[in-house]
Protein backbone atom coordinates (compact mmCIF):
# COMPACT_ATOMS: atom_id res chain seq x y z
CA UNK A 1 0.00 0.00 0.00
CA UNK A 2 1.45 3.36 -1.02
CA UNK A 3 1.40 6.50 1.08
CA UNK A 4 -1.59 8.01 -0.77
CA UNK A 5 -3.67 4.91 -0.15
CA UNK A 6 -2.54 4.80 3.47
CA UNK A 7 -3.48 8.46 3.81
CA UNK A 8 -6.97 7.58 2.63
CA UNK A 9 -7.22 4.86 5.29
CA UNK A 10 -6.13 7.40 7.90
CA UNK A 11 -8.93 9.77 6.88
CA UNK A 12 -11.46 6.95 7.16
CA UNK A 13 -10.08 6.06 10.59
CA UNK A 14 -10.51 9.69 11.65
CA UNK A 15 -14.11 9.77 10.46
CA UNK A 16 -14.75 6.54 12.37
CA UNK A 17 -13.26 8.04 15.54
CA UNK A 18 -15.58 11.04 15.23
CA UNK A 19 -18.64 8.90 14.55
CA UNK A 20 -17.89 6.39 17.28
CA UNK A 21 -17.41 9.00 19.98
CA UNK A 22 -20.35 11.11 18.77
CA UNK A 23 -22.67 8.07 18.73
CA UNK A 24 -21.55 7.00 22.18
CA UNK A 25 -21.75 10.53 23.54
CA UNK A 26 -18.42 9.88 25.28
CA UNK A 27 -14.91 8.67 24.58
CA UNK A 28 -11.53 10.14 23.76
CA UNK A 29 -11.26 11.80 20.34
CA UNK A 30 -8.17 13.96 21.01
CA UNK A 31 -5.64 11.22 21.75
CA UNK A 32 -7.25 8.93 19.19
CA UNK A 33 -6.78 11.46 16.41
CA UNK A 34 -3.14 12.15 17.32
CA UNK A 35 -2.30 8.43 17.07
CA UNK A 36 -3.90 7.70 13.69
CA UNK A 37 -0.76 7.68 11.54
CA UNK A 38 1.26 5.67 14.08
CA UNK A 39 -1.38 3.00 14.59
CA UNK A 40 -2.42 2.73 10.95
CA UNK A 41 1.18 2.51 9.74
CA UNK A 42 2.02 -0.27 12.18
CA UNK A 43 -0.97 -2.40 11.22
CA UNK A 44 -0.65 -1.76 7.47
CA UNK A 45 3.10 -1.87 6.94
CA UNK A 46 4.74 -3.69 9.84
CA UNK A 47 2.68 -6.31 11.56
CA UNK A 48 2.47 -9.89 10.37
CA UNK A 49 -1.10 -10.66 11.36
CA UNK A 50 -3.99 -12.53 9.78
CA UNK A 51 -7.46 -11.14 10.52
CA UNK A 52 -8.86 -14.58 9.63
CA UNK A 53 -6.63 -16.18 12.24
CA UNK A 54 -6.26 -13.55 14.95
CA UNK A 55 -4.81 -16.02 17.47
CA UNK A 56 -2.06 -17.29 15.16
CA UNK A 57 0.73 -18.10 17.65
CA UNK A 58 3.34 -16.75 15.24
CA UNK A 59 1.70 -13.35 14.80
CA UNK A 60 3.30 -10.06 15.71
CA UNK A 61 1.76 -8.32 18.74
CA UNK A 62 0.43 -4.88 19.38
CA UNK A 63 -0.45 -3.34 22.75
CA UNK A 64 -2.34 -0.07 22.97
CA UNK A 65 -0.94 1.05 26.30
CA UNK A 66 -2.81 4.36 25.96
CA UNK A 67 -6.03 2.36 25.95
CA UNK A 68 -8.25 5.43 25.80
CA UNK A 69 -7.33 5.69 22.11
CA UNK A 70 -9.62 2.67 21.66
CA UNK A 71 -11.72 4.33 18.90
CA UNK A 72 -8.58 4.66 16.76
CA UNK A 73 -7.66 1.02 17.49
CA UNK A 74 -11.15 -0.29 16.69
CA UNK A 75 -11.27 1.71 13.46
CA UNK A 76 -7.96 0.25 12.30
CA UNK A 77 -8.97 -3.28 13.35
CA UNK A 78 -12.16 -2.93 11.32
CA UNK A 79 -10.28 -1.59 8.29
CA UNK A 80 -8.00 -4.61 8.53
CA UNK A 81 -10.96 -6.97 8.83
CA UNK A 82 -10.57 -8.15 12.43
CA UNK A 83 -13.99 -6.83 13.40
CA UNK A 84 -17.08 -5.72 11.55
CA UNK A 85 -17.79 -2.02 11.13
CA UNK A 86 -21.33 -2.65 12.36
CA UNK A 87 -19.84 -2.98 15.86
CA UNK A 88 -19.01 0.76 15.86
CA UNK A 89 -22.59 1.75 16.66
CA UNK A 90 -22.36 -0.25 19.89
CA UNK A 91 -19.12 1.36 21.10
CA UNK A 92 -19.38 2.00 24.87
CA UNK A 93 -22.87 0.46 24.96
CA UNK A 94 -24.09 -2.42 27.11
CA UNK A 95 -23.07 -5.90 25.81
CA UNK A 96 -20.75 -4.48 23.16
CA UNK A 97 -17.40 -6.07 22.36
CA UNK A 98 -16.14 -2.50 21.97
CA UNK A 99 -15.62 -1.46 25.57
CA UNK A 100 -14.56 2.07 26.47
CA UNK A 101 -11.04 0.69 26.75
CA UNK A 102 -9.83 -2.44 24.89
CA UNK A 103 -10.85 -5.81 26.34
CA UNK A 104 -8.71 -8.70 25.07
CA UNK A 105 -11.44 -11.21 25.94
CA UNK A 106 -13.89 -9.58 23.58
CA UNK A 107 -12.14 -8.13 20.54
CA UNK A 108 -10.35 -10.25 17.92
CA UNK A 109 -6.91 -8.75 17.31
CA UNK A 110 -6.59 -7.25 20.78
CA UNK A 111 -3.79 -9.00 22.67
CA UNK A 112 -3.96 -7.19 26.01
CA UNK A 113 -6.62 -5.47 28.09
CA UNK A 114 -5.48 -1.91 28.66
CA UNK A 115 -6.75 1.46 29.75
CA UNK A 116 -5.24 1.76 33.18
CA UNK A 117 -2.23 3.79 32.15
CA UNK A 118 1.32 2.62 32.64
CA UNK A 119 0.78 -1.11 32.29
CA UNK A 120 0.82 -1.84 28.57
CA UNK A 121 4.55 -1.45 28.09
CA UNK A 122 5.26 -4.03 30.80
CA UNK A 123 2.87 -6.45 29.10
CA UNK A 124 4.65 -5.82 25.79
CA UNK A 125 8.00 -6.48 27.49
CA UNK A 126 6.59 -9.82 28.67
CA UNK A 127 5.48 -10.66 25.14
CA UNK A 128 8.86 -9.72 23.66
CA UNK A 129 10.69 -11.64 26.38
CA UNK A 130 8.45 -14.66 25.77
CA UNK A 131 9.11 -14.51 22.03
CA UNK A 132 12.86 -14.44 22.65
CA UNK A 133 12.60 -17.33 25.09
CA UNK A 134 10.60 -19.38 22.59
CA UNK A 135 13.02 -18.40 19.81
CA UNK A 136 10.24 -16.86 17.73
CA UNK A 137 10.88 -13.89 15.44
CA UNK A 138 7.75 -12.15 16.78
CA UNK A 139 7.92 -8.35 16.93
CA UNK A 140 6.01 -6.52 19.62
CA UNK A 141 4.70 -2.98 19.13
CA UNK A 142 3.40 -0.85 21.96
CA UNK A 143 1.89 2.62 21.76
CA UNK A 144 2.14 4.88 24.78
CA UNK A 145 0.92 8.37 25.45
CA UNK A 146 3.37 11.02 26.59
CA UNK A 147 1.30 11.86 29.65
CA UNK A 148 1.27 8.15 30.40
CA UNK A 149 5.04 8.33 30.83
CA UNK A 150 4.37 10.09 34.13
CA UNK A 151 3.50 6.64 35.48
CA UNK A 152 6.55 5.19 37.20
CA UNK A 153 5.85 1.67 35.95
CA UNK A 154 6.55 2.81 32.39
CA UNK A 155 10.18 3.40 33.39
CA UNK A 156 10.36 0.02 35.09
CA UNK A 157 9.30 -1.47 31.78
CA UNK A 158 11.84 0.58 29.81
CA UNK A 159 14.57 -0.55 32.21
CA UNK A 160 13.56 -4.19 31.75
CA UNK A 161 13.42 -3.84 27.94
CA UNK A 162 17.05 -2.72 27.86
CA UNK A 163 18.14 -5.21 30.52
CA UNK A 164 16.72 -8.12 28.54
CA UNK A 165 18.06 -6.68 25.25
CA UNK A 166 14.64 -6.77 23.61
CA UNK A 167 15.46 -5.72 20.07
CA UNK A 168 12.11 -7.23 19.05
CA UNK A 169 10.25 -4.51 20.98
CA UNK A 170 9.19 -1.25 19.36
CA UNK A 171 7.97 1.42 21.78
CA UNK A 172 6.05 4.26 20.14
CA UNK A 173 5.29 7.39 22.12
CA UNK A 174 2.44 9.57 20.90
CA UNK A 175 3.89 12.87 22.09
CA UNK A 176 0.99 15.26 21.64
CA UNK A 177 2.06 17.37 24.61
CA UNK A 178 -1.37 17.55 26.23
CA UNK A 179 -3.19 15.66 28.94
CA UNK A 180 -6.51 16.00 30.75
CA UNK A 181 -5.50 18.87 33.01
CA UNK A 182 -3.56 20.80 30.36
CA UNK A 183 -0.06 20.86 28.90
CA UNK A 184 2.31 18.11 30.03
CA UNK A 185 4.81 20.81 30.86
CA UNK A 186 2.36 22.46 33.24
CA UNK A 187 0.93 19.30 34.81
CA UNK A 188 4.18 17.33 35.26
CA UNK A 189 7.01 18.05 32.92
CA UNK A 190 8.55 15.02 31.24
CA UNK A 191 11.72 16.93 30.54
CA UNK A 192 13.88 15.78 27.65
CA UNK A 193 12.02 12.60 26.72
CA UNK A 194 14.39 11.86 23.85
CA UNK A 195 17.46 12.01 26.09
CA UNK A 196 15.67 9.97 28.75
CA UNK A 197 14.83 7.20 26.29
CA UNK A 198 18.42 7.13 25.09
CA UNK A 199 19.64 7.03 28.69
CA UNK A 200 17.32 4.07 29.28
CA UNK A 201 19.09 2.17 26.52
CA UNK A 202 16.76 2.63 23.57
CA UNK A 203 17.63 3.22 19.96
CA UNK A 204 15.57 6.40 19.58
CA UNK A 205 14.04 7.68 16.36
CA UNK A 206 12.54 11.10 16.88
CA UNK A 207 9.79 11.96 14.41
CA UNK A 208 9.24 15.70 14.30
CA UNK A 209 5.83 15.32 12.63
CA UNK A 210 4.20 12.14 13.88
CA UNK A 211 1.12 12.86 11.79
CA UNK A 212 3.16 12.73 8.60
CA UNK A 213 3.02 9.25 7.13
CA UNK A 214 6.33 9.47 5.28
CA UNK A 215 8.18 10.40 8.48
CA UNK A 216 6.43 7.74 10.54
CA UNK A 217 7.14 5.05 7.95
CA UNK A 218 10.79 6.04 7.75
CA UNK A 219 11.13 5.64 11.50
CA UNK A 220 9.28 2.32 11.52
CA UNK A 221 11.39 0.99 8.65
CA UNK A 222 14.70 2.13 10.09
CA UNK A 223 16.84 -0.87 11.00
CA UNK A 224 17.20 -1.71 14.68
CA UNK A 225 20.45 -2.16 16.52
CA UNK A 226 21.08 -5.69 17.70
CA UNK A 227 20.33 -6.03 21.38
CA UNK A 228 18.59 -2.67 21.79
CA UNK A 229 14.87 -1.93 22.02
CA UNK A 230 13.60 0.67 19.59
CA UNK A 231 11.74 3.85 20.49
CA UNK A 232 9.83 6.03 18.08
CA UNK A 233 9.24 9.34 19.77
CA UNK A 234 6.61 10.93 17.58
CA UNK A 235 5.62 14.56 18.07
CA UNK A 236 1.96 14.69 17.17
CA UNK A 237 -1.00 17.03 17.37
CA UNK A 238 -3.81 16.15 19.74
CA UNK A 239 -7.11 16.23 17.85
CA UNK A 240 -5.23 16.19 14.50
CA UNK A 241 -7.43 16.67 11.43
CA UNK A 242 -10.32 18.45 13.11
CA UNK A 243 -9.62 22.17 13.31
CA UNK A 244 -11.53 22.91 16.49
CA UNK A 245 -10.04 19.90 18.31
CA UNK A 246 -6.41 20.44 17.38
CA UNK A 247 -4.14 21.19 20.32
CA UNK A 248 -7.07 21.50 22.71
CA UNK A 249 -6.68 19.55 25.96
CA UNK A 250 -10.43 19.91 26.43
CA UNK A 251 -10.99 17.37 23.64
CA UNK A 252 -9.14 14.63 25.53
CA UNK A 253 -12.26 12.96 26.83
CA UNK A 254 -15.22 14.74 25.34
CA UNK A 255 -17.47 13.60 22.50
CA UNK A 256 -18.53 15.92 19.69
CA UNK A 257 -22.20 16.92 19.58
CA UNK A 258 -24.17 16.54 16.35
CA UNK A 259 -23.20 19.92 14.97
CA UNK A 260 -19.54 19.36 15.81
CA UNK A 261 -19.70 15.88 14.28
CA UNK A 262 -20.96 17.27 10.99
CA UNK A 263 -18.32 19.98 10.92
CA UNK A 264 -15.57 17.45 11.73
CA UNK A 265 -16.76 15.02 9.05
CA UNK A 266 -16.81 17.83 6.52
CA UNK A 267 -13.21 18.66 7.31
CA UNK A 268 -12.29 14.98 6.98
CA UNK A 269 -13.88 14.41 3.59
CA UNK A 270 -11.75 12.69 0.94
Amino acid sequence: MNTAELSKVCRQVRRDIINMTANAGSGHPGGSLSAVELLTSVFYTQMRVDPQNPKDPDRDRFVLSKGHAAPCYYAVLAEKGFIDRSEFQHFRQLHSILQGHPDAKKVPGVDASTGSLGQGCSIAVGMALGAKHLKKDTRVYVLLGDGECQEGQVWEAFMAAAHYKLDNLIVMIDNNGLQIDGRNDDVMSLGDLCAKMKAFGFDVFEVMDGNDLTSVLAALNAPVSVGKPKCILAHTVKGKGVSFMENQAGWHGKAPNEEQRQQALKELED
Partner: protein, 308 residues
Protein backbone atom coordinates in the same frame (compact mmCIF):
# COMPACT_ATOMS: atom_id res chain seq x y z
CA UNK B 1 3.44 -34.42 62.74
CA UNK B 2 7.03 -34.54 61.57
CA UNK B 3 9.74 -31.99 60.84
CA UNK B 4 8.92 -28.36 60.25
CA UNK B 5 9.17 -26.97 56.70
CA UNK B 6 7.94 -23.60 55.47
CA UNK B 7 5.41 -23.60 52.63
CA UNK B 8 7.69 -21.21 50.70
CA UNK B 9 10.49 -23.80 50.92
CA UNK B 10 8.18 -26.51 49.59
CA UNK B 11 7.04 -24.18 46.80
CA UNK B 12 10.63 -23.45 45.77
CA UNK B 13 11.52 -27.15 45.70
CA UNK B 14 8.32 -28.06 43.87
CA UNK B 15 9.01 -25.50 41.15
CA UNK B 16 12.23 -27.33 40.28
CA UNK B 17 10.37 -30.63 40.04
CA UNK B 18 7.64 -29.01 37.98
CA UNK B 19 10.19 -27.34 35.73
CA UNK B 20 11.65 -30.72 34.84
CA UNK B 21 8.33 -32.02 33.51
CA UNK B 22 6.81 -28.84 32.09
CA UNK B 23 8.98 -26.64 29.89
CA UNK B 24 6.25 -23.98 29.66
CA UNK B 25 6.80 -23.05 33.29
CA UNK B 26 8.81 -19.86 33.76
CA UNK B 27 9.48 -18.11 37.06
CA UNK B 28 9.69 -14.40 37.80
CA UNK B 29 10.85 -12.74 40.96
CA UNK B 30 11.49 -9.20 42.16
CA UNK B 31 14.86 -9.52 43.85
CA UNK B 32 13.58 -11.86 46.53
CA UNK B 33 14.49 -15.24 45.05
CA UNK B 34 16.47 -16.17 48.12
CA UNK B 35 13.46 -15.46 50.34
CA UNK B 36 10.56 -16.70 48.20
CA UNK B 37 12.75 -19.74 47.45
CA UNK B 38 12.49 -19.38 43.69
CA UNK B 39 16.30 -19.45 43.97
CA UNK B 40 16.19 -23.23 43.50
CA UNK B 41 14.47 -22.82 40.14
CA UNK B 42 16.88 -20.03 39.22
CA UNK B 43 19.79 -22.39 39.86
CA UNK B 44 18.20 -25.30 38.00
CA UNK B 45 16.80 -23.41 35.01
CA UNK B 46 18.53 -20.04 34.67
CA UNK B 47 17.14 -19.57 31.14
CA UNK B 48 13.59 -19.85 32.46
CA UNK B 49 14.04 -17.51 35.40
CA UNK B 50 13.50 -13.79 34.95
CA UNK B 51 14.50 -11.43 37.71
CA UNK B 52 12.57 -8.19 37.38
CA UNK B 53 14.44 -6.28 40.02
CA UNK B 54 12.67 -4.35 42.75
CA UNK B 55 9.71 -3.52 40.52
CA UNK B 56 6.78 -5.74 41.40
CA UNK B 57 4.14 -4.00 39.29
CA UNK B 58 6.32 -4.41 36.22
CA UNK B 59 6.88 -8.08 37.09
CA UNK B 60 3.15 -8.85 37.25
CA UNK B 61 2.54 -7.31 33.85
CA UNK B 62 5.58 -9.00 32.32
CA UNK B 63 3.96 -12.18 33.61
CA UNK B 64 0.77 -11.17 31.82
CA UNK B 65 2.70 -10.71 28.57
CA UNK B 66 4.55 -14.02 28.94
CA UNK B 67 1.26 -15.85 29.46
CA UNK B 68 -0.05 -14.55 26.13
CA UNK B 69 2.88 -16.34 24.48
CA UNK B 70 1.68 -19.69 25.84
CA UNK B 71 4.07 -19.81 28.78
CA UNK B 72 3.00 -20.43 32.39
CA UNK B 73 4.55 -17.69 34.51
CA UNK B 74 4.85 -18.07 38.28
CA UNK B 75 5.36 -14.56 39.69
CA UNK B 76 6.79 -14.45 43.19
CA UNK B 77 7.44 -11.78 45.76
CA UNK B 78 6.25 -11.02 49.28
CA UNK B 79 2.47 -10.91 49.74
CA UNK B 80 2.69 -7.25 50.74
CA UNK B 81 4.23 -6.26 47.41
CA UNK B 82 2.38 -8.80 45.28
CA UNK B 83 -1.23 -8.57 46.44
CA UNK B 84 -0.61 -5.12 47.91
CA UNK B 85 1.55 -2.97 45.68
CA UNK B 86 0.64 -4.79 42.46
CA UNK B 87 -3.06 -5.12 43.19
CA UNK B 88 -4.19 -3.10 40.23
CA UNK B 89 -1.80 -4.77 37.79
CA UNK B 90 -3.16 -8.14 38.91
CA UNK B 91 -6.71 -6.87 38.67
CA UNK B 92 -6.58 -5.14 35.30
CA UNK B 93 -3.80 -6.81 33.32
CA UNK B 94 -4.06 -10.39 34.60
CA UNK B 95 -7.52 -11.16 36.01
CA UNK B 96 -9.61 -8.94 33.71
CA UNK B 97 -8.34 -10.66 30.54
CA UNK B 98 -8.24 -14.03 32.43
CA UNK B 99 -4.56 -14.56 31.71
CA UNK B 100 -2.89 -17.72 32.91
CA UNK B 101 -0.57 -16.19 35.50
CA UNK B 102 0.25 -17.80 38.85
CA UNK B 103 0.89 -15.25 41.58
CA UNK B 104 2.69 -17.00 44.42
CA UNK B 105 3.46 -14.75 47.34
CA UNK B 106 5.42 -15.67 50.44
CA UNK B 107 5.84 -13.86 53.75
CA UNK B 108 2.09 -13.49 54.26
CA UNK B 109 0.57 -12.91 57.66
CA UNK B 110 1.97 -11.79 61.00
CA UNK B 111 4.22 -14.87 61.22
CA UNK B 112 6.68 -12.89 59.10
CA UNK B 113 7.87 -11.83 62.54
CA UNK B 114 10.81 -9.48 62.96
CA UNK B 115 10.31 -7.40 59.80
CA UNK B 116 7.25 -5.89 61.41
CA UNK B 117 3.88 -4.52 60.40
CA UNK B 118 5.03 -2.96 57.12
CA UNK B 119 5.88 -6.43 55.81
CA UNK B 120 3.06 -8.46 57.32
CA UNK B 121 0.29 -8.68 54.73
CA UNK B 122 -2.96 -9.36 56.54
CA UNK B 123 -5.24 -8.15 53.74
CA UNK B 124 -3.96 -10.19 50.79
CA UNK B 125 -6.63 -12.89 50.87
CA UNK B 126 -9.30 -10.20 50.97
CA UNK B 127 -7.77 -8.19 48.14
CA UNK B 128 -7.39 -11.22 45.91
CA UNK B 129 -10.76 -12.84 46.56
CA UNK B 130 -12.49 -9.57 45.72
CA UNK B 131 -11.25 -9.84 42.14
CA UNK B 132 -13.78 -11.49 39.82
CA UNK B 133 -12.67 -14.93 38.67
CA UNK B 134 -9.58 -15.09 40.85
CA UNK B 135 -8.74 -18.40 42.50
CA UNK B 136 -7.19 -18.07 45.96
CA UNK B 137 -5.20 -20.87 47.59
CA UNK B 138 -3.54 -21.07 51.00
CA UNK B 139 -1.62 -24.31 51.53
CA UNK B 140 -1.54 -25.59 55.10
CA UNK B 141 1.77 -27.40 55.02
CA UNK B 142 4.76 -28.27 52.87
CA UNK B 143 3.13 -31.32 51.29
CA UNK B 144 0.09 -29.32 50.30
CA UNK B 145 2.22 -26.45 48.98
CA UNK B 146 4.02 -28.91 46.71
CA UNK B 147 0.77 -30.37 45.41
CA UNK B 148 -0.75 -26.94 44.91
CA UNK B 149 2.31 -25.77 42.97
CA UNK B 150 1.74 -28.64 40.54
CA UNK B 151 -2.05 -28.17 40.46
CA UNK B 152 -1.63 -24.53 39.46
CA UNK B 153 0.17 -25.53 36.26
CA UNK B 154 -2.74 -27.75 35.24
CA UNK B 155 -5.31 -25.08 36.05
CA UNK B 156 -6.18 -22.56 33.33
CA UNK B 157 -6.50 -19.01 34.63
CA UNK B 158 -5.15 -16.60 37.22
CA UNK B 159 -4.42 -17.93 40.70
CA UNK B 160 -3.14 -16.32 43.88
CA UNK B 161 -1.27 -18.65 46.22
CA UNK B 162 -0.38 -17.48 49.72
CA UNK B 163 2.79 -18.86 51.28
CA UNK B 164 4.41 -18.43 54.66
CA UNK B 165 7.91 -17.60 55.82
CA UNK B 166 7.72 -19.58 59.03
CA UNK B 167 8.64 -23.28 59.11
CA UNK B 168 5.60 -25.17 60.39
CA UNK B 169 4.71 -28.82 61.03
CA UNK B 170 4.22 -31.16 58.07
CA UNK B 171 1.21 -33.45 58.41
CA UNK B 172 2.01 -37.13 58.43
CA UNK B 173 -1.12 -38.00 56.54
CA UNK B 174 -0.76 -37.48 52.80
CA UNK B 175 -4.25 -36.39 51.83
CA UNK B 176 -5.26 -35.46 48.28
CA UNK B 177 -5.29 -31.88 47.04
CA UNK B 178 -7.96 -30.68 44.67
CA UNK B 179 -8.56 -26.97 44.01
CA UNK B 180 -11.92 -25.99 45.53
CA UNK B 181 -12.34 -29.14 47.63
CA UNK B 182 -11.88 -28.76 51.37
CA UNK B 183 -10.19 -31.47 53.43
CA UNK B 184 -11.78 -32.63 56.67
CA UNK B 185 -8.86 -33.50 58.92
CA UNK B 186 -10.72 -34.32 62.11
CA UNK B 187 -14.33 -35.15 62.86
CA UNK B 188 -16.12 -33.78 65.91
CA UNK B 189 -19.69 -32.83 66.75
CA UNK B 190 -19.25 -29.78 69.01
CA UNK B 191 -17.93 -27.22 66.50
CA UNK B 192 -16.95 -26.98 62.86
CA UNK B 193 -13.62 -25.15 62.72
CA UNK B 194 -12.50 -23.95 59.30
CA UNK B 195 -8.86 -22.96 59.08
CA UNK B 196 -6.31 -22.17 56.41
CA UNK B 197 -2.56 -21.90 56.08
CA UNK B 198 -0.43 -22.42 59.12
CA UNK B 199 -3.51 -21.99 61.34
CA UNK B 200 -4.53 -25.51 60.31
CA UNK B 201 -1.80 -27.12 62.39
CA UNK B 202 -2.53 -24.76 65.29
CA UNK B 203 -6.21 -25.68 65.08
CA UNK B 204 -5.40 -29.40 65.04
CA UNK B 205 -3.31 -28.85 68.17
CA UNK B 206 -6.22 -26.91 69.67
CA UNK B 207 -8.50 -29.85 68.86
CA UNK B 208 -6.26 -32.17 70.88
CA UNK B 209 -6.33 -29.77 73.82
CA UNK B 210 -10.12 -29.58 73.66
CA UNK B 211 -10.48 -33.35 73.30
CA UNK B 212 -8.68 -33.73 76.63
CA UNK B 213 -11.58 -31.76 78.10
CA UNK B 214 -14.18 -33.83 76.32
CA UNK B 215 -14.89 -31.32 73.56
CA UNK B 216 -14.80 -32.74 70.03
CA UNK B 217 -14.38 -30.37 67.11
CA UNK B 218 -14.25 -30.91 63.38
CA UNK B 219 -11.15 -29.39 61.77
CA UNK B 220 -11.51 -28.53 58.12
CA UNK B 221 -8.58 -27.39 56.00
CA UNK B 222 -9.94 -24.69 53.67
CA UNK B 223 -6.91 -24.56 51.38
CA UNK B 224 -9.02 -22.96 48.68
CA UNK B 225 -10.61 -19.71 49.80
CA UNK B 226 -12.06 -19.10 46.36
CA UNK B 227 -13.92 -20.86 44.94
CA UNK B 228 -15.05 -21.85 48.43
CA UNK B 229 -16.24 -25.41 49.06
CA UNK B 230 -19.72 -24.18 50.02
CA UNK B 231 -21.16 -27.70 50.27
CA UNK B 232 -18.58 -28.66 52.87
CA UNK B 233 -19.11 -25.42 54.81
CA UNK B 234 -22.89 -25.75 55.00
CA UNK B 235 -22.79 -29.48 55.74
CA UNK B 236 -20.43 -29.10 58.70
CA UNK B 237 -22.16 -25.96 59.96
CA UNK B 238 -25.49 -27.86 60.06
CA UNK B 239 -23.86 -30.87 61.65
CA UNK B 240 -22.13 -28.95 64.45
CA UNK B 241 -24.22 -25.82 64.97
CA UNK B 242 -21.13 -23.89 66.08
CA UNK B 243 -18.87 -22.46 63.39
CA UNK B 244 -15.38 -21.05 63.92
CA UNK B 245 -12.90 -19.76 61.36
CA UNK B 246 -9.18 -19.41 62.04
CA UNK B 247 -6.80 -17.51 59.81
CA UNK B 248 -3.55 -15.60 60.01
CA UNK B 249 -5.21 -12.69 58.23
CA UNK B 250 -7.46 -9.82 59.12
CA UNK B 251 -10.90 -10.91 60.29
CA UNK B 252 -12.11 -8.50 57.61
CA UNK B 253 -12.18 -9.88 54.10
CA UNK B 254 -10.54 -13.26 54.56
CA UNK B 255 -11.59 -16.86 55.16
CA UNK B 256 -13.97 -15.84 57.96
CA UNK B 257 -15.92 -13.51 55.73
CA UNK B 258 -15.97 -16.06 52.91
CA UNK B 259 -17.40 -18.74 55.22
CA UNK B 260 -19.85 -16.27 56.76
CA UNK B 261 -21.11 -15.27 53.32
CA UNK B 262 -21.64 -18.91 52.40
CA UNK B 263 -23.69 -19.53 55.55
CA UNK B 264 -25.72 -16.33 55.62
CA UNK B 265 -29.33 -17.08 54.88
CA UNK B 266 -28.55 -20.79 54.59
CA UNK B 267 -27.66 -22.14 58.00
CA UNK B 268 -28.58 -20.90 61.45
CA UNK B 269 -25.52 -21.28 63.68
CA UNK B 270 -23.24 -19.58 66.17
CA UNK B 271 -20.26 -17.98 64.47
CA UNK B 272 -16.80 -16.91 65.63
CA UNK B 273 -14.04 -15.43 63.52
CA UNK B 274 -10.50 -15.82 64.83
CA UNK B 275 -7.83 -13.77 63.09
CA UNK B 276 -6.09 -10.41 63.28
CA UNK B 277 -8.63 -7.93 64.63
CA UNK B 278 -8.51 -4.90 62.33
CA UNK B 279 -5.03 -3.85 63.37
CA UNK B 280 -1.52 -3.92 61.93
CA UNK B 281 1.11 -6.43 62.98
CA UNK B 282 4.43 -5.66 64.65
CA UNK B 283 8.00 -6.88 65.05
CA UNK B 284 8.88 -9.80 67.25
CA UNK B 285 9.78 -13.45 67.03
CA UNK B 286 7.15 -15.20 64.94
CA UNK B 287 5.95 -17.33 67.84
CA UNK B 288 5.65 -14.26 70.06
CA UNK B 289 3.81 -12.27 67.41
CA UNK B 290 1.35 -15.12 66.82
CA UNK B 291 0.70 -15.24 70.57
CA UNK B 292 0.28 -11.46 70.73
CA UNK B 293 -2.54 -11.74 68.20
CA UNK B 294 -4.15 -14.79 69.79
CA UNK B 295 -3.23 -17.25 67.08
CA UNK B 296 -1.64 -20.11 69.02
CA UNK B 297 -3.24 -23.49 69.74
CA UNK B 298 -4.05 -22.87 73.40
CA UNK B 299 -5.52 -19.42 72.66
CA UNK B 300 -7.60 -20.84 69.79
CA UNK B 301 -8.82 -23.67 72.07
CA UNK B 302 -9.80 -21.20 74.76
CA UNK B 303 -11.82 -19.06 72.39
CA UNK B 304 -13.58 -22.05 70.86
CA UNK B 305 -14.47 -23.24 74.37
CA UNK B 306 -15.90 -19.79 75.23
CA UNK B 307 -18.17 -19.82 72.22
CA UNK B 308 -19.71 -23.24 72.88
Amino acid sequence: MSDKIATREAYGRALVELGSVNDKVVVLDADLASATMTKYFKEAYPDRFFDCGIAEANMMDIGAGLSTMGLIPYCSTFAMFGAGRSYEQIRNSIAYPKFNVKICCSHAGVSVGEDGGSHQAIEDIGLMRMIPGMTVIVPADAKEARKATFALSEFQGPVYMRLARLATPVFEEDYPFEIGKANVLREGKDAAVFACGLMVSETLAAASLLAAEGIEISVINMHTIKPLDVACVTTYARKCGNVVTVEEHSVIGGLGDAVAAALMGEVCCKFLKIGVNDQFGQSGKAADVLREYGLTADQIAARIKETL
